[in-house]
Symmetry: C2
């Protein structure tokens, strides 16, 4: 087993399974860039090893349809065009993505029902139903000569799920019980720091019901567009309280369409109104389902809060429910949106002060239950930063897995299981590849370092024109961007220019004409002057033109 992402980090989940000569790929997700990856749109796994061994890859199996599990597929499929297996909703969401990348036609998609098995090369893979914040999520059992390996990607055990489909405890129990027993368990560490059981999705339903019952004017609900069960509960409450529903936000509209077409979402046709016609209904007959639960600057709820949505703006008396938790890093955006909604007079209900969201990930007792059900010989915690993996390893020890049978992996580790032990063979090429616009991998550390310097203190460009003999014909001219407001800093720039002139004169006196030396002289003299004067370190870029 080789993780290409998702261990020691949150996101870009991807795992390779190697048995003899064959490779099976589990998931291929993206990671959303941290703030310090300036200008980067997406982070995907490094596919070098997969590319080099593409002839050995037999297929790709998907656990569920979230971006951090399927988002990198359009990039991966350019390198290895093999069949992709997943449940109906997972592949439905993938199709949209593939058609955006013009890859839909060339890709072989194979629908698998939860509870079924498929043969991919020599791999037999069972799809085992679990619960999560997106419908149709599966754990996988990959059968190997030494016994099955269970890959429990994101999951929770919901005893009262919205669709009535509880996790397939029986299959997990059977695998744990039957000879030869489960070789290894790979399991979700996201919520390992939380005690007890994660609340059922149904809990949110009753909170929402209560809010709907007492709301007297319009209701706006923002949630993750992929959380189909949450959306169903909102629709059900709207139906119960005799309200129509309208949708806004591209991903919300898309996902609802896919989920309805595939039968995952039940909405009576006459309940749906176009958002442009909302205003013709009485306020107490409207529910608006929207994106923007993370305060994303361009999302529909954020626009409504700012007052620049095309069709609807928030006004006094509206009830706004933000039915989501903050993804780390988004707290500030969400807070800003909440402030603006309150300013517009809305009654805003959000996670910090009420139960309008539950997690999709297993807490400690569920993680222990999974371990006790499948009784694996070896255990590898996945999906978490180091501290999550560490705590999950401790938890497994508590449950009785011997310490030496637990492996905390890093991205790129080739983890080998034998009958007796788990160990690392070697490391393959792996890491992060940055997507910026249409460019994949053309922005690396040097470019990012430059962007960081530019973002901190801007740039000073010094241009000189010289003749063939090296005599200065024009300049030095100084142009700055992102450094200081020029009109108020003319003196500083004038002084800087004369420092450069002096430095160049000194060079002339000493018969220095080599360009690199001239450039360094200019850079050093300016650097010193600027730092001494205002304690800043802008990028200094000397350009010499020769005529």
């Amino acid at each position: 087993m080789i993780p290409l992402g998702g261990v020691g980090e949150i996101g870009k989940n991807m795992m390779l399974v190697e048995v003899d000569d064959e490779i099976l790929i589990i998931d291929a997700g993206v990671m959303f860039p941290e703030d310090d990856l300036l200008g980067i749109d997406l982070v995907i796994p490094d596919f070098s090893y997969v590319k080099q061994n593409s002839h050995r890859v037999k297929g790709i199996v998907l656990t569920h349809g979230h971006e951090d599990h399927i988002g990198a597929l359009p990039y991966l499929l350019k390198d290895v065009n093999v069949p992709v297996y997943g449940t109906k909703l997972t592949l439905g969401l993938l199709e949209v993505k593939l058609s955006e990348h013009k890859l839909l036609k060339g890709t072989r998609l194979k629908v698998v029902n939860p509870g079924c098995s498929v043969q991919i090369g020599n791999f037999k893979v069972d799809f085992i139903r679990v619960n999560h914040s997106i419908a149709d999520t599966c754990a996988l059992a990959i059968h190997t000569p030494l016994g099955p390996i269970i890959y429990a990607s994101d999951f929770k055990f919901d005893q009262t799920p919205i669709d009535g489909e509880v996790a397939d405890f029986h299959k997990l129990a059977e695998l744990g019980d039957k000879s030869p027993g489960v070789l290894a368990l790979f399991s979700d560490s996201t919520n390992v720091e939380r005690e007890g059981f994660t609340l059922s999705e149904k809990f949110v339903g009753s909170t929402i019901d209560e809010i709907f019952r007492s709301a007297r004017e319009r209701i706006v609900v923002a949630t993750f567009a992929s959380n189909i069960h949450r959306i169903q509960q909102i629709i059900d409450a709207a139906f119960k309280y005799n309200r129509k529903v309208a949708f806004t936000g591209r991903s919300m509209i898309n996902n609802i369409e896919i989920a309805r077409n595939l039968g995952y979402l039940t909405i009576p046709e006459d309940m749906i109104v176009d958002i442009r016609n909302c205003s013709s209904l009485p306020d107490n007959r409207v529910v608006l389902l929207t994106t923007g639960s993370q305060g994303e600057p361009m999302a529909a709820l954020t626009r409504m809060a700012r007052g620049d949505h095309y069709h609807i703006n928030i006004r006094n008396g509206d009830t706004v429910i933000i039915s989501a938790s903050a993804i780390p890093g988004n707290e500030k955006f969400i807070g800003e949106t909440i402030n603006q909604l309150f300013k517009r007079g809305a009654n805003v209900i959000y996670e910090d002060i009420s139960g309008v969201h539950v997690s999709g990930h297993a807490s400690q007792e569920e993680l222990k239950l999974m371990l006790n059900l499948v009784k694996p010989k070896f255990f590898v915690p996945v999906h978490g930063e180091y501290r999550h993996l560490y705590h999950h390893a401790k938890l497994a020890e508590d449950v009785g897995i011997p310490k030496e049978n637990i492996y905390i992996a890093e991205v790129g580790d080739r983890i080998r299981f034998t009958e007796k032990e788990v160990k690392k063979d070697d490391s393959i090429q792996s890491g992060q590849v940055f997507v910026d616009g249409l460019g994949v991998g053309d922005v690396g550390n040097i470019v990012l370092r430059d962007r960081r310097v530019l973002s901190e203190d801007g740039i000073i460009i010094v241009v000189i024109t010289i003749d063939q003999q090296g005599k200065i014909l024009s300049g030095p001219d100084i142009v700055t961007r992102g450094f200081v407001y020029i009109r108020e800093s003319e003196e500083l720039i004038a002084e800087a220019t004369s420092r450069v002139e002096e430095a160049l004169k000194e060079c002339e006196k000493n018969n220095i004409t080599e360009w690199s030396v001239l450039k360094n002289t200019v850079r050093d003299s300016l650097n010193n002057y600027i730092y001494k004067k205002i304690k800043r370190n802008p990028m200094i870029l000397p350009i010499i033109m020769q005529v």
Copy 2:
């Protein structure tokens, strides 16, 4: 009353009190910049109004010694040199700051003991002891002809404080009871979303005691350097378990020295060891007190976690306590530090999984108690974003303050109290001033916008040298920074250069020699090409040199 900060935002707390012709300033704090203020070091209030009215300013009173209450004083004192009043520790911390800015000599500092009153011009000000995460915090009562105004800056009510000094309930009760009654209360909204009472600082002591009791090797504790009571509790535990203490981190060393000199911290001299001599002690005899509880990249704990601290690195068996909560925005840094500490084999104890920190701000029941004690006619919630002020206003309504007597302020509002009503007169010039290096106010929105563009996609510079007739002598030369990795994108740059050449030829053919038109042509042609090719929007900067 005019807030110059701290309402509708967290930080840069500052309030002006105007009675007749006189002005009194309460606090002058900084705000730490959000991520989108690229390269900005500090945000301070706009002092224009104070400057224009400096002759009317009688003094500055300080509630406590945190940065968001005293950090902007060095900048303010350059504009108005008036006496500064505060408790002993507050002024002790301020002194360090002033001497760094070479302002210590020229500033008149006046120590006030909690429980005492001072006369400043016509203002009589009572300093009223309250509890907070820094010792010597006071609420203020400013007596006006219409009755006292109580300014309850950051506070909590700790029934079992470390120094035994409970809040001065009697004074608050007396003011609330005595004719003419309290005119207005300004009160801390930070924790208004939390139910109940905030736990006592003493609670942390018992957690720390337990951890110390069971630790077998070295103990490292990171906390806020200004939380003197927390530090005292750590020292006490070290004493009890027969460990010596060493200090690291500049602000930790400074603050401990100030607090010891002023008598706020008791440490037997023979308990202190130099950090360089720690290694000569047995591991179970050492406690290290350090900065870095926010995962700041250059702080001592962060260095120890990374393995590049001068004297101490974290190793297997160490117990590390992070006795602090994450200031919003720092979660990622702290998480990274925790991961590294675990990787080094430390037992890390942090807020998410145990009670090693309590807040310094009042929760709902304390806020209600404050309202009920002082029974103000008018109420103005302060210190919070809009949603905090909104919730605090609702809370005051619950307690019985009439809605029309509550005012939610914005920065710059001139709030006038009469016997009958509170209302806004007008707005004065106010807002944020950015400090970047030694520059104060020279980076504004234009410079920040440029930094943002530069940080996203970098810069493309196009240089052309022309003669007096406008004929091109040299160039176009293209130089980029932060755009793409050039060696792998030669083709792109070559194509871009030829696009510019074509555009310039077109200009020549049409006899266009005006520089601004040439520049725009270059910019447009490049913009279009680059965006179409790789969907990025770098800054494009054409420079024309004439010889």
